[in-house]
């Protein structure tokens, strides 16, 4: 009841305020008398006509925009001031004198664009009035790289925004982490606000063991070309206005809108060749045969008779070469934008298709967008943002683990038999399937159709007072298809009874209503901007799925073709809601002192009635030092602003207040079993952030420095808390499990700073050189936790530890000290084998890995190698990351070089670990394994004399059954993940008008670029960009489990404007 009362109270307040304002209304009608026709032309500093510049009469609503020739016509009277403004240029004011009727104005490039208006949460603000930390990524930045989805364009563009992709699977979502992770078991991804539509994606998931059915999310439906700006809100004062949703940072995405003037038609076409990756070196057939013979020699699986003389064998199959191919990525888009002084529109359509470098993978998208604005009355403006899209992702490759399989399958198996049928091993057990065949035979894909959009109405009640109403929504209809036929590859058999088809359909929706009253005024030196608002949101999903087995024919992939008795059907539904009241006051005195306060009161359906509502206040101050009189003489400094902000945001991304039951089929009908430990006292997570920073512009704005440092303290962490297993729960699905309760136990701290330096090094009429550098450093530390969270990947030796005093999710393992050289070496060392004996068959032997005895049950070395000797061996989080952009323009040529880097992070190369250790005798090994340790004897009787015949390598001896436990993950499996990558180099040419007018073109730009040109790294896997994924409910970072590689791309791009 309490929250309803408060809600009502707030509503009464709001109404009272509205009414007062209405009473105070006065006519804002204006009319210029004595106006005459003024015509003119606007040109840029390079002499080009500027299209779309706004020409207005100061202090009136009288405005127009320039046409394609840069010309305009406006009515104004003597004494009035004509203002010309255009994005990226300094506004020019010209007072009309005498009888001037024609104006030719040349604009000067404004490197800082300080007068720009930027998007903030629930509103817009002049850049100079900002008192919180936020960064803008523009359409120009986005267009400089080849992006399947727009989140990829964020990489390296903004300080303290760590973008990594865990998979090169086309369309796969990237992980975007702003200012360090702020959750251990929930999503760490930011809130995306796309023209008012709020989307909070989950952490991407992609691992062989627990793979999802799809890798893209609803964001992948957005055409990156439609985006005008991405504003990344980082500071607490900027994010707190989003209250419970703002804790991970907010990315405000504004799509393009039309401008008054002649309709602009832009055609953009892109062709890209994607290259093959560099192959992981694995054994060829002679090497493999030799190794198999060795396995047999030491008592392992018998070798193949044809391997008797490896020297006569050919190279065998190179599975990676057989799998990977060069493929095409193409994108064609058409955009029309334009309008009148009353109505403007932006319409675009796009077709995008990317074939994966591995068969059976790919992503395509068709999208259309219509953005409309209409000044219906002087006091009313309405508009709509409508976008629809359809995406399709092919996921055979990832679903069947085909890339790992291509590394694992041994070279004696042919891709195809001489008769053209698929090759395979002669038996099924312990063997591997044919990855190339599976990539072609499986038919797994997902289709999504979605709508994202909204409508708004702005009512100007009086000058400066606007009532803004908007309704936004997103709707996604998702279909997943999987068809796995039976097959027989030479004897490797999956029977037709196991042929399976699975279908799933789901739809989900989100909508909000937002009403806000915005008042802006300026009285002498006092400028006030105030906003009060209400928002309600609701979301939900429905799903339906089914599967069948046993297909008589593979011609029909639908369920109807399968055996009805194997039919399984399921459905699910869920919903949620949030209601919020919030406001913001921004007060600026004399353009020098800025004070901003925000407050949000959020109610969420994720919490029980007694903890449903949470408050999120923030305050920020800024001082524009450069406006002070004592600074006026320091001409080098154009602008200097110091900022301090403090605020509280939150996270409500959790469920678990209800004790749900899981349905279980039994012999007596459906049964029900507890599914989770309920926690009815669940409440808001609180994220308190202190941020200090400054913005500095120097030397005619040719140097811009933006620096921010922050401390973010996260308390009452919403964490799925794993207790000791004797409490009966589990962290991820296991049969009959009870999921651990979501609790508010735990705290962590993120500290960091980011610096952005943009400079214009050279600028003259023909040549310009600009650089942009951003540098970020984020440190995460757990400060409180009930129990360390320790989990193992795929029930293996790869374990990850989150404990107090350390960053989250560190890689743990043993320390390898080398290989045992002789008997004494083993005897003098701690006991390693679980059998405790020195023996070639049943224990430790020469050539086994020697692990360091670090600790025991009493905290001291105890002469036994066991879990007490496990230590942290890798930190997956980078020490720092940076992005470095250089753009050169010479006459009509533009050259852009974009470099990104991530330094100091460790990667557990699980793929190498697996393929060095081996996946049985029938799997292939890495080439490096050829240098395995060879003891002089495998006979227990020779223990006195046995030595290592080939010292100097780190690959242990062949030991069937691994009695020494050489499979313990150790620091040899950890590699540096540091890399510096020339992400993109592009060269483009803008054709001059005289060359293209005959073609009815107004602009023509051709460019060629190379993406992922060079990567400098010591990492041995395909790609050092190993991101972070959600693994069974927790964060798993820095593990390469056979990543889908990102590859070099060669692109050719034409942009034609009509």
């Amino acid at each position: 009841m309490r929250q309803i009362k408060i809600a009502q109270k707030l509503k009464v307040l709001l109404w009272t305020f509205t009414c007062c304002v209405l009473l105070a209304l006065n006519s804002s009608a204006q009319n210029a008398s004595g106006a005459r026709k003024i015509t003119g032309k606007i040109i840029s500093n390079k002499g080009d006509a500027v299209e779309g510049a706004t020409v207005s009469v100061k202090g009136t609503k009288n405005a127009t925009t320039t046409d394609a020739n840069g010309t305009f016509t406006i009515y104004a009277a003597t004494g009035e001031t004509i203002v010309v403004s255009y994005v990226g240029f300094t506004a020019v004011e010209t007072k009309l004198t005498g009888s001037t009727s024609s104006l030719n104005i040349s604009l000067k490039e404004d490197f800082a664009s300080l007068n720009d208006v930027v998007v903030v949460g629930y509103g817009k603000m002049k850049k100079t009035d900002l008192s919180s930390s936020q960064v803008t990524v523009t359409a120009a930045d986005i267009s400089k790289t080849v992006n399947t989805t727009f989140d990829q364009a964020l990489q390296g563009r903004a300080a303290n925004v760590y973008v990594s992709s865990n998979s090169g699977q086309p369309g796969a979502a990237s992980s975007v982490i702003i200012r360090g992770i702020s959750s251990l078991t929930g999503s760490t991804q930011p809130l995306y606000v796309i023209d008012g539509v709020q989307i909070k994606p989950d952490n991407p998931a992609d691992d062989l063991y627990n793979h999802p059915s799809g890798f893209s999310n609803i964001l992948s439906g957005i055409n990156p070309d439609d985006i005008e700006t991405m504003n990344i809100l980082q500071g607490p004062s900027a994010t707190a206005i989003f209250g419970a949703a703002g804790a991970n940072g907010v990315i405000m995405i504004t799509t393009k809108r039309g401008k008054a003037g002649e309709t602009k038609i832009s055609l953009n076409t892109l062709w890209t060749i994607q290259d093959r990756p560099d192959y992981i070196p694995v054994m060829n057939l002679p090497e493999y045969a030799k190794y198999r013979n060795e396995i047999a020699k030491v008592g392992g699986t018998a070798s193949d008779p044809t391997f008797a003389d490896p020297s006569v064998l050919g190279e065998g199959t190179n599975w990676q070469a057989a799998l990977f191919r060069r493929t095409l990525l193409q994108k064609h888009s058409l955009a029309l934008s334009g309008g009148t002084d009353k109505t403007n529109f932006y319409f675009s359509g796009e077709y995008f298709n990317q074939d994966g470098i591995a068969p059976g993978s790919g992503f395509s998208r068709a999208s259309a967008r219509l953005n409309l604005d209409n000044q219906t009355r002087k006091w009313l403006k309405i508009g709509a943002t409508l976008s629809i899209n359809q995406t399709k992702e092919k996921v055979n490759t990832t679903n069947a683990g085909i890339i790992s399989l291509a590394i694992q399958q041994n070279p004696s198996i042919p891709v195809k038999n001489p008769d053209g049928t698929w090759g395979g091993p002669s038996t099924t057990q312990f063997q591997f399937s044919n990855p190339v065949a599976l990539a072609n035979l499986y038919h797994d894909y997902n289709k999504a159709s979605s709508f994202i959009g909204g409508v708004y109405a702005d009512i100007t009640l009086m000058k400066g007072l606007v009532l803004h109403n908007e309704a936004n929504g997103s709707y996604e209809y998702y279909n997943s298809y999987q068809f796995h036929p039976g097959y027989n590859f030479n004897g490797y058999v999956v029977p037709s009874t196991s042929a399976s088809s699975a279908r799933a359909a789901s739809n989900n929706f989100w909508w909000n209503f937002n009403t806000r009253l915005q008042y802006d005024t300026r009285i002498n030196k006092h400028a006030v901007s105030a906003m009060i608002a209400h928002e309600s949101q609701s979301w939900g999903y429905e799903s339906l799925s089914g599967s069948r087995l046993n297909f008589v024919t593979y011609a029909v992939e639908e369920l109807s073709g399968g055996d009805q008795t194997t039919s399984i059907a399921n459905s699910g539904r869920g919903d949620g809601a949030k209601e919020s009241y919030f406001g913001r006051v921004n007060y600026t005195y004399n353009d020098r002192y800025i004070l901003q306060g925000t407050y949000r009161y959020d109610g969420s359906s994720n919490f029980g009635t007694n903890k449903q509502w949470g408050s999120f206040p923030s305050v920020s101050v800024a001082w524009r030092v450069s406006q002070e009189n004592f600074m006026k003489n320091i001409h080098a400094i154009n602008d200097l602003k110091l900022r301090v902000e403090y605020g509280l945001s939150g996270n409500s991304n959790a469920g678990g207040i209800y004790a749900k039951l899981q349905a279980v089929p039994t012999g007596w009908g459906t049964g029900f079993l507890s599914q989770n430990f309920a926690n009815p006292n669940l409440q808001w997570e609180s994220d308190k952030t202190l941020n200090v920073g400054f913005d500095l512009h120097m030397f005619n704005n040719r140097i811009e420095v933006i620096a921010d440092a922050y401390i973010k303290k996260i308390d009452k962490l919403l964490t799925t808390n794993p207790y000791a297993f004797y409490n009966g729960g589990d962290i991820s699905y296991s049969p009959g499990y009870i999921s651990w309760p979501t609790t508010n136990v735990g705290s962590m701290e993120n500290k960091g700073f980011g610096v952005t330096v943009n400079t214009v090094n050279i600028s003259n009429k023909n040549f310009e050189w600009k650089t942009g550098l951003n540098f970020s450093l984020d440190r995460n530390k757990i400060t409180n936790l009930l129990t360390p969270i320790n989990y193992a990947y795929a029930a293996s030796q790869a374990e990850f530890l989150t404990e107090v005093g350390q960053p989250a999710s560190l890689i743990t393992g043993y320390i390898a000290e080398g290989l045992f050289q002789d008997y004494q070496d083993i005897q003098n060392h701690a006991v390693q084998a679980s059998s405790g004996v020195i023996s070639p068959q049943q224990g430790t032997w020469v050539g086994d890995i020697k692990f360091k005895d670090i600790s025991g049950p009493d905290g001291k070395p105890d002469g036994i190698i066991d879990h007490n000797d496990r230590v942290v061996i890798g930190n997956p989080w980078p020490k720092y990351t940076f992005g470095f952009n250089n753009s050169f323009s010479y006459k009509r040529f533009d050259l852009n070089i974009f470099i990104v880097g991530s330094i100091g992070n460790d990667i557990l190369n699980y793929s190498r670990y697996q393929n060095e250790l081996g996946t049985g005798p029938f799997g292939n090994y890495l080439k490096s394994v050829s240098n395995f340790a060879i003891p002089s004897s495998y006979n227990l009787a020779d223990s006195g004399t046995v030595t290592l015949t080939n010292p100097g390598y780190a690959i242990p001896r062949i030991a069937p059954g691994d009695p020494n436990g050489n499979n313990r993950i150790n620091q040899w499996d950890i590699e540096s993940g540091s890399y510096v990558r020339i992400k993109n180099v592009s060269l483009s040419y803008n054709f001059p008008n005289h060359m293209i007018t005959k073609l009815a073109l107004k602009g023509l730009r051709v460019s060629a670029n190379v993406q992922n040109l060079v990567t400098i790294t010591k990492y041995k896997g395909y790609d050092p960009e190993v991101g972070m994924v959600n693994y069974g409910g927790t964060i798993m970072a820095g593990v390469d489990t056979g990543r889908y590689p990102s590859v070099r791309m060669y692109c050719f791009n034409v942009v034609a404007d009509f």
């Binding site: 209405l22 209400h534 309600s536 949030k578 209800y658 749900k660 039994t666 009908g669 430990f677």
Partner: protein, 539 residues
């Protein structure tokens, strides 16, 4: 002015009123039942205990049954259970040790929560009989969880209230406390379960009594020595076994082989010999209601026809093979338990005319290997064989009865004891005995229940009162590889077996499994000495 006002009011009104619904923020799950609105009727109580017969046992059946019960029990030769066969299980084993450990505490937790939910149901219309029966089922299942825990890890924490005790500081309780707890739970079950199953396959009073007989028989040796087992426990074992034998109306199936066919032993049709069996479904969704046993053990995918059948390297231990080679008369049980080269099984892979066994490097497993869905009325799927897992059969109660009668004597010729001991043998085609010793009964039970997950627990029973003998027994079991070749034309059939003997006995240090590493990290208190359980805390 006026229109502005009008539109403003309309738009603002719409915007502000849209969320005035009182329940806007209350969103209970709409596709799932919650405990707060369930367990209220007879049907709901029964549906609440039904899953305790399958999904919670999956990990036990999938991993622990063979690794803990048979590999350590000396009946199994297997390429991927070496650590268990050789008593060198590592605490870091994530694939078998951890899921096994978790499974027993899952059974305990689900039983506890269901018990609480039945007791706390608001506005319940369920009858007292059904409520008591449901509670009886929960107590029974919880006792089974602790039975496996105490036998595999010794002293373990007793969790009786999963919400109230949710923490990492619960101490281990003594082995004695755990046994007392098990017996208390089973006595509750015996008092509250019906004499005849409410639905076929459900637990009865006699299921609980059969288990009580087994528990008392085992506990009689705890802290005792050979010839001095606790007499009152032996008497209790005898009492409960006798009640099951005389009053339950259960009976042995006439043919041993029939016990392990789907037709006689599935969740829709439990047989007259079964006291408690895990009730598996012929589907694998959700994962865990399925019996994955055959998937791992059938030696060829042709047998299962569902894409599984990975058991080429799994079979009977050399020691078990030796018994059957030395006792050719025990051929009925032999052929139903492990396959020898030259055997022919017409019931497996019927569409190809049955299965001929050609493997000579191992004697693959037959028990619970039932063939393809087509061989079993169309029921079954990938890793989902439609056959129940016995947790107790009447034959075992017969043997318990015989041992309880014998008690602390070194042998017995008691007519009752012999009657039931010989009943088991007669069905197997084995000659009667006129006097039996502990070793006779021990051996009989081992062969009768081989590969049903029982062997280790009998060894533990022996270890309680005669650890030296238990160690010697395991140390003498040959666990090496062997080859087995059918002597063509021999009748009765004989085989030539070549052994490569390997011996691994248990020690006082390896008799219990290590706590999983992950568990020790989460709950270091498990390294502390165990404390007696305070039974007054129980509700």
């Amino acid at each position: 002015m006026k229109p502005i006002l009008k539109y403003t009011i309309i738009i603002a009104g719409v915007a502000f009123l849209q969320s005035c619904k009182k329940d806007f923020l209350n969103r209970p799950p709409i596709d799932q039942v919650t405990s707060g609105n369930f367990y209220k009727s007879d049907e709901e109580v029964l549906a609440g205990t039904a899953p305790l017969y399958n999904i919670v046992w999956f990990d036990y059946n999938d991993k622990a049954l063979l690794a803990f019960g048979e590999a350590r029990g000396g009946n199994l030769n297997s390429n991927d259970r070496t650590a268990y066969i050789q008593f060198k299980t590592s605490s870091t084993d994530q694939s078998t040790l951890l899921p096994g450990y978790k499974s027993f505490y899952k059974i305990v937790a689900q039983s506890n929560l269901t018990m609480q939910n039945i007791n706390n149901a608001v506005g319940s219309t369920a009858s007292t009989t059904i409520k008591n029966m449901g509670l009886g089922e929960c107590h029974f299942m919880r006792a089974m969880g602790y039975y496996y825990l105490v036998n595999n890890w010794g002293a373990v924490p007793i969790i009786y209230d999963n919400i109230g005790q949710l923490s990492n500081n619960n101490p281990r309780n003594t082995i004695e406390s755990v046994w007392q707890f098990i017996i208390m739970d089973l006595r509750f079950a015996a008092d509250n379960l019906p004499a005849t199953p409410y639905q076929q396959g459900r637990l009865t009073k006699y299921s609980a009594e059969g288990m009580l007989a087994k528990m008392y028989l085992t506990r009689s040796g705890l802290n005792a020595s050979e010839g001095a087992r606790t007499q009152s426990d032996l008497d209790s074992a005898k009492y409960y076994a006798a009640d099951v034998i005389n009053n339950s109306s259960l009976s042995l199936l006439p043919k041993y082989n029939d016990l392990f066919t789907s037709a006689n032993n599935n969740s829709s049709n439990n047989n007259k010999e079964s006291l408690f069996a895990l009730q598996w479904m012929p589907v694998a969704t959700p994962w865990g209601v399925n019996n994955s046993f055959q998937a791992y053990l059938a030696f060829d995918p042709k047998i299962t026809q569902t894409g599984d059948g990975w058991g080429a390297a799994q079979g009977g231990s050399a020691d078990l093979v030796k018994y059957f080679i030395n006792n050719p008369a025990d051929s009925i049980r032999r052929k139903a338990t492990i396959m020898f080269q030259g055997d022919y099984y017409p019931e497996l892979d019927q569409k190809d005319g049955g299965t001929n066994v050609t493997n000579n490097y191992i004697a693959n497993i037959k028990k619970f290997v039932i063939g393809s869905p087509a061989d079993n009325g169309g029921k079954g799927a990938f890793m989902a064989a439609y056959v129940n897992t016995y947790m107790m059969r009447l034959a075992e109660v017969y043997l318990i009865y015989a041992e309880a009668i014998m008690g602390n004597a070194s042998s017995t010729s008691d007519a009752e004891a012999l009657k039931y001991f010989n009943a088991v043998r007669e069905r197997a085609g084995m000659p009667d005995k006129s006097s039996i010793t502990f070793d006779d009964i021990f051996q009989e039970k081992r062969v009768e229940t081989a590969l049903e997950g029982n062997a280790w627990y009998d060894i533990m029973r022996l270890y309680y009162f005669n650890p030296a003998k238990a160690k010697a027994y395991t140390a003498a079991q040959d666990k090496g590889n062997y080859t087995i070749n059918y002597n063509a034309g021999s009748s009765p059939r004989t085989w030539t077996v070549v052994y490569t003997p390997e011996y691994y006995g248990l020690t006082d240090q390896t008799v219990y499994l290590p706590y999983p590493e992950a568990e020790m990290v989460a709950a270091p208190s498990l390294a502390e000495p165990p404390v007696p359980f305070d039974f007054s805390k129980l509700p």
